[in-house]
């Protein structure tokens, strides 16, 4: 594999280059910063911050740069900007209404408009997450403990659905490693399984036996400990909407979206590789790894391209999908020497 000289995020493709309108906006913002005498090298952030800061009128530049703000319907979830390599893609954010209105959460229905319509029945308090298995200090965390376990960070990740569409989401959370380290995995621990809520009283979708409930997902321990592997508690600066997996969900940005299990109730450290729900349902189509890979197609459709929700116009050709969803510089070494066609 070539050594990337690019710092952090890799930008190999012309279509990934910041659109003209955005960089012009950035310049205008830098000019306005210069006017208030705070022309610090915030250039990269200017495009996104411009709107938020414009709303804050002409107050002097804030000590910490403003974070993404949502529509204000849900409780705020304060965060700091993540310092992790790859935590911020430069792509335009997908609108909140699309992030919260178009997604898969089979426990609330099979259509992508169903979760937003049906997930109001999900009760996110009280909520506990038991972390168990191959660890020295198994423990059941209350959601309040987890919210305080590590500082909340904002991270802007791409999300690539296995169905061929993608989004750019500003998540709030912290690396899953914070939780795993708290329970001290033993030397036997090689894999991590994430078990999600399955309650018929709250989730109408459980009446259909489309998947073997509860929905389960798994990662190799080194994948789970990778700093980019996020436990998200919020998005757009607010707590997660129910339909997006409240009160806490996994986000693994270099894997297809279904790997990022929602509404997690149990985390198990395991010696042997667990089987994830989609792997059990259709083993020929869904593998354990499910890394975003434009060269390995889903049997029913190509994975070479994707449609960015809310951005790529109806009549625009789909954009190329990037290896590891563009996170190759950060995670490529996890799979060094592996045949990714075999371990799909």
């Amino acid at each position: 594999m070539l050594i990337k000289t690019d710092q952090g995020y890799a930008h190999p493709i012309a279509s990934e280059i910041t659109p003209r309108a955005v960089f012009e906006e950035r310049r205008a913002f830098l000019r306005s910063l210069a006017v208030v005498g705070a022309g610090t090298p915030l250039g990269l952030w200017a495009a996104r911050d411009a709107r938020a800061q414009a709303a804050g009128a002409s107050a002097a530049a804030p000590a910490a740069p403003a974070l993404t703000t949502g529509p204000g319907k849900l409780a705020r979830l304060p965060a700091v900007r993540s310092a992790i390599d790859g935590a911020f893609v430069m792509d335009k954010l997908t609108a909140y209404e699309h992030v919260a209105g178009y997604n898969n959460y089979y426990e609330f229905g099979l259509e992508k408009s169903d979760p937003a319509r049906n997930a109001h029945t999900l009760r996110t308090r009280p909520w506990t997450v038991s972390v168990e298995g191959e660890c020295a200090k198994p423990r059941t965390f209350g959601i309040e403990d987890l919210l305080k376990l590590a500082p909340m960070e904002e991270r802007i990740y791409r999300l690539r659905c296995v169905e061929g569409w993608s989004m750019v989401v500003p998540w709030v959370g912290y690396s899953v490693s914070n939780i795993l380290r708290a329970v001290e995995p033993t030397g036997k621990a090689k894999f991590v399984e994430f078990v999600t809520l399955a309650d018929r009283a709250q989730m109408p979708g459980l009446r259909s036996s489309v998947l073997d409930w509860p929905y389960k997902e798994g990662l190799r321990l080194d994948e789970a400990l990778h700093p980019l592997t996020l436990m998200a508690f919020g998005l757009y600066g607010e707590v997660l909407p129910n339909q997006n997996g409240a009160p806490l969900r996994l986000v693994v940005p270099w894997k297809y979206g279904f790997k990022s299990a929602k509404s997690i109730v149990k985390i198990r450290l395991l010696e042997r590789q667990p089987r994830s729900s989609w792997e059990v349902a259709i083993p020929s189509e869904y593998g354990f790894y499910s890394n975003v890979n434009p060269k390995v197609d889903h049997p029913r459709w190509s994975q070479a391209t994707e449609r960015r929700i809310g951005e790529d116009g109806v009549f625009q050709r789909k954009r190329p999908t990037l290896m590891f969803n563009g996170y190759e510089a950060q995670v490529g070494q996890l799979y060094a020497g592996m045949d990714l066609r075999k371990f799909y």
Binding site: S302, V314, F315
Partner: protein, 205 residues
């Protein structure tokens, strides 16, 4: 009642109204595409809806004969050609939206996609089978082919229907989302079942 139904079906406006009703979704889709009101994934909405409309028109086409026999109103047969052509039109729109929005009109990609994915191949086969039916849908074609040969040719519609349902089923199989498929499959089974029963009934008499 029977006479009233017959009169409605024989009315000169009957066919234009049926055509208008079944093409109205097209107006809505085009308007929505131009005004960006087709939701988060407008391309998917266009491809899905055109395919589903084709399937609906196909089921309506196959319902003509059972309706005619069941009600005893022969005038239902007047609608069959129109419904068949509407099925073909929606199927062509389905092909157009797929080729354009999913494949960007890259012929290489379309060919590769077709040979690689059984559900696309089956959909293409259904389209291909519909082509001779649409091309021989005018009166002179019936005369030229002879009535019995024309009828035999147009029995290909049953194959089209089975391929279309299989196409829909295989597409949804990727995410195990079979609710809609089951509804259409049940309707098709009823329509084809009625024909099978009639055929068997004739045999025993």
């Amino acid at each position: 009642m029977k006479a009233r139904l017959g009169a409605v079906l024989m009315h000169p406006l009957c066919k234009p109204v049926v055509a208008l009703v079944l093409l109205l979704p097209l107006v809505a889709l085009v308007w929505g595409a131009l005004n960006d009101t087709l939701g988060a994934n407008p391309a998917e909405t266009l491809i899905r809806n055109s395919g589903e409309m084709a399937l609906r028109c196909l089921l309506l086409t196959l319902a003509v004969t059972p309706l005619r026999e069941w009600t005893g109103v022969a005038a239902f047969a007047r609608l069959r050609r129109l419904l068949g052509l509407l099925t073909f039109s929606w199927a062509m729109l389905h092909l157009l939206t797929y080729s354009w929005l999913d494949m960007g009109f890259y012929l290489d990609d379309i060919v590769r996609d077709t040979v690689k994915r059984p559900f696309i191949l089956v959909g293409m086969l259904a389209l291909l089978l519909m082509l001779p039916l649409a091309l021989t849908s005018f009166n002179a074609a019936v005369k030229a082919l002879g009535s019995s040969r024309w009828k035999r040719l147009h029995q290909a519609v049953y194959a089209v229907a089975l391929l279309a349902i299989l196409h829909f089923f295989w597409m949804r199989a990727g995410k195990l989302n079979f609710g809609d498929v089951a509804v259409y499959a049940a309707l098709l089974a009823a329509l084809l079942g009625w024909r099978v029963r009639r055929l068997l009934g004739r045999g025993t008499h």
